[in-house]
């Protein structure tokens, strides 16, 4: 399936969408950019920290609500579009459901386990509890209400056409986001044969029954890093931070990197992909899954 088809089919206006669940690596920027190109509106974005992608979707006017622990630009600081939306209502106002990294994980586990909430000690004594209607204090614990994504978009190193996805490196809140979501859309660096994914079933992230689309999208996480495939493009984040300081600067950035590129393949022509591509090789030792 192409990215355009996957977003058209599975990310409607008003959807609750989990993105960037591995924190700084494996961020599905290509999927986010396609949502912007298709003019999605009223999304509720769910994530732990968001390194620049939420900021871009907010600046493009796609977002009604943020449900996250942190929104900004990790190596550069504040998210300028996030600031404009929350401080001045530009390009539109935004509802914010603040979380911590732990509480958003628990909110997704609650949804995954089909319970209304999970109790925790985190957030005790924090004013975040008073700002987010899904957090309540009772019996000396904070009860973290379930967050139910309609769809989780997950970028991985490799997947097969039937939705078995392999990711490696730190996973952040990827597993709970996928289990909590009604549907999972996988975007991958490499589309591989099922013999590859099934050779290591421990590494498969989600039950294939949750996965509704697999999009082969090399470079789809740029500028975020993909272990074994792409380094992080630090200067791209720096340039985005500088450009997005003003609405006009952000609009030009969006034009150059989203509206004027038809798809990810066209986008990749604009970056120095060869320098960013990982050349080294340090494979893990295979595990023996012999059938005896």
């Amino acid at each position: 399936m192409t990215m355009a088809e996957a977003i058209e089919s599975f990310v409607p206006d008003g959807a609750t969408v989990a993105l960037g669940t591995a924190l700084e690596p494996l961020i599905p920027f290509a999927a986010g950019h396609e949502m912007i190109r298709q003019g999605r509106r009223d999304l509720d974005l769910v994530g732990p920290i968001s390194d620049a992608l939420f900021d871009q979707l907010i600046g493009a006017g796609c977002v009604r609500r943020i449900t996250a622990a942190w929104v900004g630009n990790v190596s550069e600081g504040l998210g300028h579009c996030y600031r404009r939306a929350t401080e001045s209502g530009l390009p539109r106002s935004l509802e914010v459901h603040d979380h911590t990294n732990f509480s958003i994980a628990l909110a997704l586990w609650a949804a995954a386990w089909n319970v209304p909430s999970l109790p925790a000690r985190t957030l005790l004594g924090s004013d975040i509890v008073g700002t987010n209607p899904n957090l309540t204090t009772a019996d000396g614990l904070v009860h973290i209400g379930a967050v139910h994504p309609d769809v989780a978009v997950i970028h991985v190193q490799r997947a097969d056409a039937l939705g078995r996805a392999h990711a490696w490196g730190p996973l952040g809140i990827t597993e709970e986001a996928g289990l909590a979501a009604q549907r999972v859309v996988i975007t991958c660096e490499e589309l591989v044969d099922a013999s590859v994914t099934l050779s290591d079933p421990n590494r498969i992230l989600f039950p294939e029954t949750k996965v509704v689309a697999v999009v082969h999208e090399p470079g789809g996480a740029h500028p975020s890093p993909v272990q074994g495939y792409f380094k992080r493009d630090h200067s791209f984040y720096r340039n985005y931070a500088a450009a997005s300081r003003t609405s006009e600067g952000f609009d030009s950035w969006l034009k150059r990197w989203v509206f004027e590129v038809a798809n990810r393949a066209a986008y990749m022509k604009g970056i120095d992909a060869d320098t960013l591509r990982v050349k080294g090789s340090a494979p893990s030792v295979p595990a023996n899954f012999a059938d005896e």
Partner: protein, 258 residues
């Protein structure tokens, strides 16, 4: 500071590193705390381990530039790559000895604000949010915050408590409210080190960095500060502390933050 052979940040890193004991499990952050962790590992805490909330445990810090804790050099050589909630489980069990937290604003009771300046419904400045900071503040056994010493950052009371320190400053506030750890152990600034009385309360001035005066610290602190007893001079970074942080800076092109 021009007559000294180290920067204010290098001194902060040295002070922070001395908070790490051998064998500690440390919730590390980015930039200065990574350097502090590296200094401790190389000097007095060879058995410390570091956690990165993205989902990593490490022994030795990565020796190349990291834009974020999830960068590939931080993953290669990890002791554990996992989901974030597994690390939070360790912290919820009281097994994380020390955390580092950055902040935009800290108050006299060690509460941190990284969420809103002005009312949350119509903020004057929207800061990025907690990330894992509130989790560390509430669940780790003790924590340290590092901050540039400016009057607008060291305020009497933060308007929004993202990450609680000692709350309203009354003794035992954390225990009464169910928070797990002992809270902020120190605020390390570019001018001085504040510490807190056991059981909670108001920050007191513990030491002033070489080259600064009590008057300067007072002038740049947003609460009326009365030193309790003798204020020491912060020990300068040692040659060996400086050599570790400079080696790391050199290996990563000097971009880790000092």
């Amino acid at each position: 500071m021009s007559d000294r052979d180290y920067t204010a940040q290098e001194l902060m890193v040295a002070v922070a590193s001395r908070e790490i004991s051998d064998g500690d499990l440390v919730f590390v952050g980015m930039r200065l705390p990574i350097l502090a962790y590296a200094v401790a590992r190389n000097n007095h805490a060879p058995n410390a381990r570091g956690l990165f909330e993205v989902g990593l445990m490490r022994d030795l810090p990565a020796m190349s530039y990291l834009g974020t804790m999830g960068d590939p050099p931080n993953v290669a050589g990890a002791l554990w790559a996992t989901r974030m909630s597994n690390l939070m489980a360790l912290m919820a069990q009281g097994l994380v000895d020390l955390g580092f937290i950055g902040g935009a604003e800290v108050d006299r009771f060690g509460n941190l604000n990284t969420s809103y300046v002005g009312p949350p419904s119509k903020p004057r400045v929207k800061l990025p949010g907690s990330g894992g900071a509130a989790d560390i503040a509430i669940l780790s056994r003790r924590w340290v915050t590092l901050m540039s010493h400016e009057r607008r950052r060291l305020v009497d009371r933060v308007s929004f408590v993202t990450s609680p320190g000692h709350g309203d400053g009354t003794r035992g506030w954390r225990r009464r409210n169910g928070l797990l750890g002992t809270g902020p152990a120190a605020i390390v600034t570019t001018m001085c080190v504040f510490r807190f009385p056991e059981g909670g309360g108001e920050a007191y001035l513990d030491s002033i960095h070489p080259g600064y005066t009590l008057a300067e610290v007072r002038e740049n602190t947003g609460w009326p500060m009365e030193p309790v007893g003798d204020v020491k001079e912060t020990p300068a970074p040692t040659v060996s502390e400086l050599s570790v942080m400079r080696a790391l800076q050199k290996s990563d092109g000097g971009t880790t933050g000092v």
